[in-house]
């Protein structure tokens, strides 16, 4: 699946990634995320995870396969 939104680094625990979608809802991202894309509009490709994580930044959890600026 793909999602488009603004990437945000959230300073909780050792740090977490969040994608803020156009409607204001959020996704918690797990996996490799390029730090230089922080606060940029990006397209995230990945899979929705069944589980929990340490970020807890809100919304569904997504295992990131790729992140690209758009």
């Amino acid at each position: 699946m793909t999602w488009t939104g603004v990437l945000q680094r959230v300073d909780v625990g050792p740090g977490a990634w969040r994608l803020v979608l156009g409607d204001g809802s959020t996704l918690g991202l797990y996996g490799a995320v390029p730090a230089e894309l922080n606060e940029k509009r990006v397209v995230v490709r990945g899979q929705v995870l069944d589980g929990v994580g340490i970020g807890m930044v809100g919304g569904a959890l997504v295992q990131v396969e790729s992140v690209e600026a758009c």
């Binding site: 300073d11 050792p14 797990y30 340490i54 809100g58």
Partner: protein, 568 residues
């Protein structure tokens, strides 16, 4: 027949008493007062202004005629130093008002107040905020309680060297060790049980608790519902009394089922509210079966990242890094094969404060459901709201209520023992009432006067404390655990002296019953820990001596019966 009826009545009453919820009033705790200690000299701790140089250290040391040294290499940034001085009073006077000196305290004084010698403790505003030193100053440090850290694993970093840490297990596929490959789990474990008062690093809420590492989250910080559920089941099977879940996401039926099973086993399950900064608590924190924890910053207000809403049961320090030293500082792995002292923030950090506090209460012999009630009831706040739940965690108040509850039980038990034996001996009413009053006061202290406006003095402390706690008041913390004191020795001695005379026999009989009640209560709850004796032997020691004290009481009541009948 009459004896059977009396025993039945006493049994029912005691059972009802132990089923009571904690309704008693909060006990006052002494306010820390910074005055020179009575000891003339010793180790002085000097906190210089941050950025002070070795030359500054030397000049300050010269003023008080000692070689000051940084408490620990890692504490140099905090400019915390210590040195031996001949006179506390003279040294404090010499440094008073010095522009480079922020705080001067004696190590002895700090230890007496429960303050540890961990050099970075001063940066742990969170421990002060929840009143953790009140726990450290006594015996309530989580001993014997297993806390499962269901997380990214736990690694024995330098400031966990003295912590009881089990081997644990990993439920992450392909990972065989429960060591931490992320940093989150070790940080959480540190908040619960960092080695404390070891002259190194930082402190933990329940430093004598045992940590069970359960790795259910990958190095990325994610875990599937199946891994989490398996980890919770494992923690219960391994004897965990508290489970810390600094994790969250959407609802999962398998996790919910595992938590229900844990609760059915009497395990306290504490979970994070989430870090969305919005209304809506994540799972499993939102479950009825978990204590959901929101996060506050150093100013006591809700941290901006904390989730809130239905499901928040209590708030605890989670940090606010917008403020200097506003995060939660613990020792954890650094991801490069080493370790560091790192400030994190999050409801993940708030949760282990509550788990540690639960461990402290459980180690005081409080059943799990009562411990949960006490934590929520003593939380600071004005009724439930969606930001703070029942209020902000206050371990000092929780321990105060715990102590009050124990004293209430002992007070009633002592009186019941006295009523029973004087009834069996068929003594006169006056003897029964006097014996019972003495027994209650000996067993529980006149605890309900703790909140009365009495002068702060040793006599007041003796009045409100049970007799067996008097050495702790008069000599110092810990001294009440001298085995001969926690025995029937005193009832025997008093029984053969004061008990020999009619006018003082009720006093001796009451003392015997009161001591018996305290010893039996201690054996049942684990709140009395006689020195040198392992747990099983300690329980037997207390029970046997309790029985002996009761026999002394019965003998005295019998003697009173004979004297009363002889006089007719």
């Amino acid at each position: 027949m009459r004896a059977i009826k009396i025993l039945s009545a006493v049994g029912l009453t005691v059972a009802a008493m132990f089923a009571l919820g904690p309704e008693a009033a909060e006990r006052r705790l002494p306010e820390p007062v910074m005055e020179p200690p009575e000891a003339s000299g010793g180790v002085l701790v000097v906190d210089l202004v941050d950025g002070s140089t070795p030359a500054d250290l030397e000049s300050i040391g010269a003023l008080i005629e000692t070689d000051l040294e940084w408490v620990h290499p890692l504490a140099e940034d905090e400019a915390l130093a210590s040195g031996e001085v001949a006179s506390y009073a003279a040294a404090m006077a010499a440094l008073a008002g010095h522009p480079l000196v922020e705080v001067v305290e004696s190590e002895v004084m700090l230890e007496a107040l429960g303050y540890p010698n961990d050099p970075m403790f001063e940066r742990q505003w969170n421990m002060q905020a929840i009143g953790a030193p009140a726990a450290w100053s006594g015996s309530a440090r989580g001993a014997g309680v297993v806390v499962a850290v269901v997380d990214t694993g736990v690694t024995r970093v330098e400031d966990l060297e003295g912590t009881s840490l089990l081997e644990g297990a990993s439920f992450v596929p392909g990972v065989t060790s429960a060591a931490d490959d992320q940093g989150h789990g070790t940080h959480v474990a540190g908040t619960i049980a960092q080695t404390t008062n070891n002259g190194l690093g930082v402190t933990g809420v329940a430093p004598d608790a045992t940590i069970l590492p359960v790795k259910v989250l990958s190095a990325q910080g994610f875990g599937s519902s199946a891994w989490i559920a398996a980890g919770i089941d494992y923690a219960v099977d391994e004897g965990a009394s508290v489970i810390n879940l600094s994790l969250g996401g959407g609802y999962s039926a398998v996790i919910h089922t595992a938590i229900k099973k844990a609760r059915a086993q009497g395990v306290v399950v504490v979970a994070a509210a989430g870090n969305s900064g919005r209304r809506g608590v994540g799972y499993p924190g939102a479950l009825e079966e978990t204590i959901g924890v929101s996060a506050i910053g150093p100013d006591g207000s809700l941290a901006p990242y904390s989730s809130y809403g239905k499901g928040v049961d209590i708030a605890a320090p989670g940090g606010d890094k917008r403020r200097p030293n506003g995060g939660i500082l613990q020792n954890t792995v650094d991801g490069r094969g080493g370790h560091h002292y790192a400030e994190y923030q999050g409801t993940s950090m708030a949760t282990p404060h509550v788990a540690g506090a639960a461990a402290v209460l459980l180690s005081e012999g409080i059943p799990s459901e009562a411990a949960e009630r006490i934590l929520l009831r003593t939380a600071e706040g004005a009724g439930w709201n969606e930001q703070y739940g029942n209020g902000t965690l206050n371990l000092a108040s929780a321990l105060g209520l715990t102590a009050t509850q124990h004293n209430l039980y002992r007070f009633l038990l002592g009186g019941l023992f006295a009523l029973l034996i004087t009834q069996l001996a068929d003594t006169r009413v006056g003897f029964r009432l006097t014996t019972s009053a003495v027994a209650s006061s000996v067993a529980g202290g006149v605890f309900f006067l703790a909140s009365a406006p009495l002068p702060e003095s040793v006599l007041t402390q003796l009045l409100i404390h049970p007799l067996l706690e008097w050495p702790g008041v008069v000599i110092g913390p810990g001294w009440m655990h001298f085995p001969l004191w926690l025995s029937a020795a005193l009832p025997v001695g008093i029984g053969f002296t004061l008990g020999a005379f009619g006018p003082t026999r009720a006093l001796a009989a009451g003392l015997a019953c009161g001591v018996a009640a305290h010893l039996f209560h201690g054996a049942a709850t684990g709140t009395l820990e006689p020195w040198w004796l392992p747990t099983a032997m300690a329980t037997s020691w207390l029970a046997v001596n309790g029985a002996l004290a009761i026999v002394i009481g019965m003998g005295l009541a019998g003697a009173q019966h004979i004297e009363e009948r002889g006089g007719e």
